[in-house]
Amino acid sequence: MATISDQVGALHETPASGSNYLNCDKRIWSWVFTLDHKRIGMMFIVLVTVGLFLGAFFAALIRLELAHPGTTLPFMNHDFYNRVFTLHGAIMIFLFVLPAIPSGIGNFVLPLMLGAKDVAFPRLNLFSLHLFVIGVVFFVLTLLLGGIDTGWTFYAPYSIETHTAVTVALCGAFILGFSSIFSGLNFIVTTHTLRPPGMSWMQLPLMIWALYATAIIQILATPVLAITLLLVIAERVLGVGIFDPALGGDPILYQHFFWFYSHPAVYIMILPAMGIISEVISVHSRKHIFGYKMIAFSSIAIAFLGFLVWGHHMFVSGQSPLLGMIFSLLTFSVAIPSAIKVFNWLATMYKGSIHLTTPMCYALIFIFLFGLGGLTGLFLGALATDIQVHDTSFVVAHFHYQMLGGVGMAFFAGMYHWWPKMTGKMFNDKFGKINAALMFVAFNVTYFPQFIIGSRGMPRRYFDYELLLDKNPEITAYQMVSTAGGLILIATFFGVFINLVMSLFNGKPAPANPWGGATMEWQCTSPPSQHNFDKPPEANDPYDFDDIKYDAKIKGYVTVQ
């Protein structure tokens, strides 16, 4: 049996002495055609970060324009603004929120957590990455062609008739969809077949349960989006006549098809985020996760129920009240598994030993923001109140609380949590925490006012609200506050990446297990070698921290036998 110091020695010999997945082959070609899930994950992370900042650029334009009534920015007008908010939505959703955690962090972490050498289909994984890049190219092409002005929802008949580069953008979204589908396929098979001996389903880390539930949605819902986009392209190019009433079609059919994917899509976004939070809270509280089974099953429940509620986007679309009633009832059912998770996370912290590290700060921020955002979903699920707030700033605030306050914060939590593993470097924790606190405050300053003006009637996707000031003069003040918060918020995004990138140059070398996690990825070196593990680690309880003790010499945790 190896002694502690032997084990520590073995795990600690990393970047300086040995080769790892980052430096084993330095040629560009070895990255472009890599089959290594870790490299693919890192490349996805770089790409989605670009997507985040590109989307944030358009967000800045929106907020700057809305700060004052009338035309605020000199080059702005109705048409330009429409393109700006459409691009903001489409880029953020397709190039950041959807792929960031599953294809980025998930790719890196999933095989490691299974003690595996790679995903089930490494070439398919590479293909997912290449498809993603091609999708990005289409989006860039869309930008160069003047962008699109349909809203990210592409409602017919406007999306059929408008003269902007919709077909190019939809081709891009179509290709990105297949990137997502193949990722999901890969993760499902990997989880089924590459578990180590001894790791039953009930011993899977919750991150994997989350990614698995996400993958189910990816493979079932995304093809429906793909065919919908294809039909819109056919209608634009040939005039097929399925959605455009001028050609004999039915525009409400488009809405049903679109939301059948796009509602489950939001669960593609949030489920992996919740997986990250389960990991971070447990590890940084040094406590076994509470209610493991319920969290695992609630992920599957959310995946399933998420397919049944798409009609709540269509309460005022002209669909029958009966349909509205059914969808409203089902929508409330989805709230319960999410609530259960929040309670489980709090119970995990109970009597723990909570380390307020940067990842933990983001996890706490997640609970606050996603909790509030989720609760505001109650207004949208209830029929009477939805009539009032549908298509207003209220909805915008709600989904930003979920997507940015939820998925975004979890992404940052995951990045900070696994950064030492990914890069072998420790970041500046103090700067990270201050930045997180500032992000939290700025977020609320940005989005909370939008709830209030929204429920009072301020519509979304409005270039200007001058005509509203007669009855609601307070809107200007709320918008200015929101803009102030928004600009600071974007600055804190830079703070995250500056911190992480600086660590590559100035950061202390990271031990194998800086936080004391019990899942398998902490048993390989930081960063991992190309083939992950010399020997497959033994399956154990992923949340049992009993044998994991801090060793001040290496400033990390070791497993004592």
Partner: protein, 266 residues
């Protein structure tokens, strides 16, 4: 292409089969993974087509008048021949898989060739059908396609009027009148001609997407054929043949649903 090393295999020291990928421990694990992956892919394909079938169902329920006349313009005989051709090709494909499992290289190659021939036959008949429709201007957006391919009679730029359904009215009116038991007014004929638009939209989307999948199948089977010549497949390793076989059966199955819905029911 792989940048992986063999360093993970000192323990055990078993000889890795040429066909066993390095991240799998045993051929059984790989086989199971590949099968599961392929089935999941087929599920996504089914869902991909389901959107179109759903559109068909919604239109059929809400706008039945669209389907009143459409079938007159489809050649049921050709459709039936195509169905038989595809079913037969599924048989030869299944036979090919069996031959691979039994390491019967010659049988495998012959079956794959016959399957390919059937696939080309299917496309050939489809081409005839489409050609007939093109001649009578039954393709939505035909004017635009003609301008794109440079075969248009008019010389102007592409306008929004080129989109949509602008059929050869003489041909359509005559056919509809023929199948009607009383004399129809011009207004009625106009209405019924207009209703054909969404029908042909759905028809070309469904059969077009299916045809695209047949073409992809042809590429996949050709790839198998090449590898079969090279002797890659045997009892030890049949996964690619198996997977393409599954794909081909699905393509066949989709057509089996398509044919009655478009050609037979009215």
């Amino acid at each position: 292409m792989s940048d992986k090393t063999h360093s993970g295999h000192e323990a055990g020291g078993h000889e890795h089969s040429r066909w066993l990928a390095h991240h799998f421990d045993t051929p059984q694990q790989q086989f199971f993974s590949v099968k599961l992956g392929m089935w999941i892919f087929l599920v996504t394909e089914i869902l991909f087509f389901s959107g179109l079938f759903c559109a068909y169902a919604v239109y059929r329920r809400n706008y039945p008048e669209i389907f009143a006349d459409g079938h007159h313009f489809l050649d049921t005989t050709m459709g039936a021949i195509n169905t038989a051709v595809l079913i037969f090709s599924s048989l030869t494909m299944a036979w090919a898989v069996r031959a691979a499992q039994l390491s019967q290289k010659r049988t495998l190659i012959i079956c794959l060739i016959i399957t390919l021939a059937c696939a080309f036959g299917f496309l050939g008949i489809k081409y005839q059908e489409y050609k007939a429709k093109w001649e009578h201007r039954l393709v939505p957006g035909q004017a635009r396609l003609e301008k794109w391919f440079g075969v248009s009679e008019s010389t102007g730029p592409i306008t929004r009027g080129d989109l949509g359904f602008h059929p050869d009215r003489e041909y359509i009116d005559k056919k509809i009148q023929k199948h009607s038991d009383r004399k129809l007014t011009q207004a009625e004929l106009d209405e019924r001609a207009k209703n054909l638009g969404p029908f042909f939209g759905i028809y070309f989307c469904l059969t077009g997407l299916h045809g695209f999948h047949v073409i992809c199948g042809i590429i996949a089977i050709t790839w198998l054929l090449i590898r079969s010549y090279q002797g890659h497949f045997s009892a030890e390793y049949v996964e690619p043949v198996d997977c393409v076989g599954l794909y081909w059966h699905l393509v066949d199955l989709i057509w089996i649903y398509l044919f009655p819905l478009l050609y037979l029911i009215h």
